[in-house]
């Protein structure tokens, strides 16, 4: 069953939804990258919660006009309107008052959601509202979907993705370096507006698939995950899109393969698995690599400082340093240098003195700026320069035992 789902053999509707979820996931991953890089990831939270009153209003209006309140296109149109209003409200609060953006986001998302709940209770009392099924938009549900709905999602996902790809260059520039982008003549406000427009599009298309509470995950988890693997903006957005698309696909397929497996949560949990793996295992920014690096580095710092103290004949203050030196055979347990320790200490002292000379030379400022106490001087100057530095050295000194 799962295999059939993964190979898109579960019928026309399921296939359409899967394709829609892939496209949506990809578009969300790419769009989310720009939100994330601009440190505004949670603005999407306000936008998504603000769709609820729009859904309710659209339902009421459609019924009042004598139509079917459950028309998905109509509901999504309504949700887009209040999502835009929510976004405007966030901007208004942050620009016009002293409130910070996080307060504005929290206020808007909860108040709009609260008003949406009021409208839902109104709908429940309406004749046609009893089976409105609007709660499927809260958590997303693709089970028993109409063909036209599936088509709408697939087409919506495709359109959003195309728009995202078209607009990605200016969005990258603004996310990467706002001032530079402005200097190039880009209108920052328009680009931001376009980004927010895309976030809204993703949210609205995603309502039926993942629901309004979880759509935020599609916009946040993929870019955060991608960031672990690369430092280059050009690759972050692409990788983020791929992670989003993959989560969408796996989520839609698993969900179609059995009952009681809601699409939204499965998509989110798939994305989170990739995130968790990246958090720990990514080669450079991953936690495991970072911890190993940090411990090794701290040891190197202590050994180096210990050696310098030995060279200067100073006491070593920290027991950890002595332990490390002893373990490396450089000192006795009481902190007195061994033969090997004295040799290494002399080398460390020589290094420091060479650095001191280098740093006092006005011609080598760029190289001197690389000093951090740990870097071997051989990595910043040529052999000839080193020889020049050595001419300034005093006669080799005895390292005190």
């Amino acid at each position: 069953m799962l295999w059939q789902a993964l190979t898109l053999q579960l019928g026309y509707n399921a296939t359409l939804v899967a394709i829609g979820a892939i496209l949506l996931g990809f578009a969300a991953g790419v769009t989310g990258t720009f939100l994330f890089l601009r440190r505004r990831a949670l603005v999407s939270d306000a936008i998504s919660h603000a769709t609820l009153p729009g859904v309710g209003l659209a339902f009421i209006v459609m019924v009042a006009l004598g139509g079917d309140g459950r028309n998905l296109a109509g509901l999504l149109a309504g949700s887009a309107v209040t999502a835009a209003l929510g976004l405007l409200a966030v901007q208004w609060l942050t620009r016009r008052t002293r409130l910070a953006e996080d307060s504005a986001i929290g206020a808007v998302l909860s108040v709009f959601f609260g008003f949406g709940v009021v409208l839902l209770t109104v709908i429940q009392t309406m004749e046609s509202g009893r089976q409105a099924g609007l709660d499927s938009l809260l958590l997303g549900s693709t089970a028993g979907m109409l063909r036209s709905d599936a088509l709408l999602i697939a087409v919506g996902g495709a359109l959003t993705l195309i728009l995202t790809l078209i607009l990605r260059r200016p969005m990258i520039m603004v996310a990467f370096d706002e001032d530079y982008a402005a200097a190039l003549g880009l209108n920052i406000r328009q680009v931001d507006l376009a980004t927010m427009g895309l976030v809204m599009a993703v949210t609205v298309v995603g309502l039926k698939v993942v629901g309004l509470i979880l759509i935020v995950a599609l916009l946040i988890i993929p870019p955060v995950t991608a960031r672990f693997w690369t430092d280059r903006t050009e690759r972050v957005w692409l990788l983020s899109g791929v992670i989003g698309g993959l989560s969408g696909f796996v989520g839609a397929a698993i969900s179609a393969s059995a009952p009681a497996l809601p699409t939204g949560p499965i998509i989110v949990l798939t994305g989170f698995s990739v995130f968790a793996a990246s958090l720990f295992l990514a080669p450079n920014r991953g936690v495991l690599a970072a911890v190993i690096r940090h411990v090794a580095f701290q040891r190197r710092v202590h050994v180096r400082q210990g050696l310098l103290a030995l060279a200067h004949g100073q006491p070593i203050y920290e027991r950890y340093t002595v332990r490390l030196l002893h373990r490396a055979g450089l000192s006795r347990p009481d902190g007195v240098a061994t033969e090997a320790g004295r040799a290494r200490a002399a080398k460390a002292l020589l290094d420091e003195k060479r650095w001191e000379i280098l740093r006092a030379m006005p011609d080598h400022e760029a190289a001197a700026a690389l000093y951090d106490g740990m870097r071997p001087i051989e990595t910043v100057v040529t052999r000839d320069q080193l020889a020049e530095i050595d001419t300034h050295l005093a006669a080799p000194q005895e390292v005190p035992a």
Partner: protein, 268 residues
């Protein structure tokens, strides 16, 4: 060459004479952001009744050294003693004046309230603020020339006024060791004068003052000791001995020339 000798002997003499009860003594302090130490293996001692400027080029680790020695940042290595004891047992004797930009000046509170924060050790959790506490806070404000602003919202102050309020808060603590992070950054001339006058009074009372400082041209007028820093310690000692062109050259490199145009004495 003499300078090298000076730097290393300096290190030795400092440890040799390091009084166990110095207001603050730092040993083997290394702090890094990621894999790059910004402060490397720094030893420093601030003797009682002295007034020390920590100087060095931008990014030399001056503020980092201060924060790490106060436990605000976690160092990779290093031991700090305050009056010969562990830092945590002596916090009541330390007053810290952070960089102005480090706090939210939009916070809903008044000038007097901020100064009263300096008394919070004494007030504990629940003791009420009594008139005598208020009087003390006002007195501290008077010493920095800010008494008339006591009821102002802190967001309405100028940069220099904010800095003076911070100093008043430190005074209210009644500490023995004062650590200031760039107190003169972006303040007006009147504020600079007022602050330095207060600091000199503190020194006269036998208190110890350490300040991260930017302006080389005023080092000699304001301070009696310097700690010259550029990742590692370049020199430490009385201004007359340590504030030399050679040491500055070593710390600032080519940037010193630019600084000199701005009116630094050719030699310390």
């Amino acid at each position: 060459m003499t300078r090298i000798a000076l730097a290393s002997t300096n290190g030795q003499t400092m440890t040799g004479e390091c009084p166990e009860t110095a207001p603050m003594s730092i040993r083997g302090m290394t702090v890094s952001y990621g894999q790059k130490p910004v402060v490397f293996s720094v030893d420093a001692t601030f003797p009682e009744g002295s007034m020390t400027a920590i100087i060095g080029p931008n990014g030399a680790g001056k503020s980092t050294l201060l924060k790490a020695s106060l436990g605000i940042l976690r160092p990779l290595s290093g031991i700090v003693t305050v009056f010969g004891r562990p830092l945590n047992s002596q916090r009541h004797r330390i007053a810290y004046v952070p960089q102005r930009a480090s706090v939210d000046w939009d916070f809903p509170t008044t000038v007097l309230d901020v100064v009263l924060m300096g008394l919070s050790r004494e007030l504990g959790l629940l003791r009420l603020v009594r008139p005598r506490h208020r009087a003390r806070a006002l007195d501290c404000l008077t010493r920095v020339g800010m008494a008339e602003f006591a009821d102002r919202q802190i967001g309405q102050l100028s940069g220099g006024q904010q800095q003076r309020v911070f100093l008043a808060r430190a005074l209210a603590q009644g500490a023995d060791l004062y650590l200031l992070d760039e107190p003169f950054a972006g303040v007006d001339a009147a504020t600079e004068k007022a602050i330095i006058a207060v600091l000199k009074t503190l020194r006269a009372e036998g208190k110890t003052v350490v300040s991260v400082h930017h302006d080389l041209s005023t080092v000699g007028d304001y301070f009696d000791r310097v700690l010259i820093l550029n990742t590692s310690k370049i020199a430490e000692g009385p201004v007359a001995d340590a504030f030399t062109e050679a040491n500055l050259q070593a710390a600032y490199g080519g940037r010193l020339a630019t600084a000199q145009v701005a009116g630094i004495p050719a030699a310390g």
